[in-house]
Symmetry: C2
Subunit: 200 residues, 2 copies
């Protein structure tokens, strides 16, 4: 950074640059935008962050983030308690909720098994999942994990761990995404979509 | 946003999405990253923003941002007071300082003249510039404005306004940028570089 900006601005830029999606250059642009719009942006953001730091907590049941514990989804009696959807992170939970494709409960693992990154089962929220799956009210555990090597390794591991219990373990279908042009799809997706073909 | 996150998180995402470079999706990712790294990122950023809101002000001389007024550059007696470099925004000033290509003083216009956006001379810090250029100690005003239509319109307007004073008005050279492959350069740049060719 230029010595022309004070240490307060440099520190702000350094912190903004740690956000995913912002590099050093875009962090400078963001800092300038904040300083130009003090009343509309800078002060409200400072307050929103302080409030989030104070109020937002991790749900002890499912691992999601909310201002209440248990979170709004775990506390919502209208949701289907027989289904647990396992996701990697809260971002995936939000994506599922946006799709409005699922009205059961969630379980946030907090990551994926990864031999490369040295992430073992003890680093994930797996004990809580097996305990919840042991509840006789739960019928199905849906593994909504990414279709990556780590995602599939984790899915296989969880399927093994849950094999002894009475729940059925399922996973999301693989196939051509909505709007997917075959020409642009990778071979793996096409192969999976062909294998899993169904009557038209 | 999903109703699954509390209003505090939704508000945080909404504010982050207003930063340049972050859209609704990357704002969600940024909010999650902040909430996952409370001690290292969320709380420090909240404090840095609050501190910036409290301390950073606009220099009444040049229009730059600093915690002191006059800013560090205007107050620095070792800098050449005979040169004023006119820039569009503080971001451009920082870029000049990073390049260490200039040791005079600056004048931040706060924008560019734009017929399309309805920005007239009264919206820019032009009165301050003509006043500063009238100081007998000032010899040269360098227009370091972008090579865009609005940038050039503004440069012509400023050159006209400063024509009566004793300062010489200059602008940055146009030409092939460092590392610029001719094959990838636009015709305008090549034409300008050819016109302004000099002995090798």
């Amino acid at each position: 950074m230029a010595a022309s900006a004070g240490p307060e601005i440099e520190r702000l830029i350094g912190l903004l640059a740690k956000l995913p999606g912002l590099g050093p250059r875009s962090a400078r642009r963001a800092a300038l935008a904040l300083l130009k719009k003090r009343e509309q942006l800078l002060t409200p953001l400072a307050e929103a962050l302080a409030l989030a730091a104070e109020r937002v907590k991790t749900c002890r049941t499912c691992g999601s983030l909310d201002t209440q514990d248990p979170c709004a989804i775990c506390a919502d009696q209208s949701r289907d308690g027989t289904l647990i959807c396992v996701v990697e992170e809260v971002g995936a939970l939000w994506a599922m909720e946006r799709a409005v494709a699922f009205r059961g409960r969630y379980h946030v693992l907090g990551g994926l098994l990864s031999a490369l990154d040295g992430v073992g089962p003890e680093a994930l929220r797996i004990g809580g999942l097996t305990a919840r799956a042991g509840d006789p009210a739960v019928r199905e555990v849906i593994l909504a994990l990414p279709a990556t090597v780590d995602g599939q390794t984790t899915a296989h591991y969880l399927a093994d761990r849950l094999a002894g219990s009475d729940v059925s373990v399922t996973m999301l279908a693989r196939g051509v995404p909505v709007g997917g042009e075959l020409d642009w799809l990778d071979d793996g997706t096409i192969t999976q979509a062909m294998k899993a073909r169904r009557p038209a």
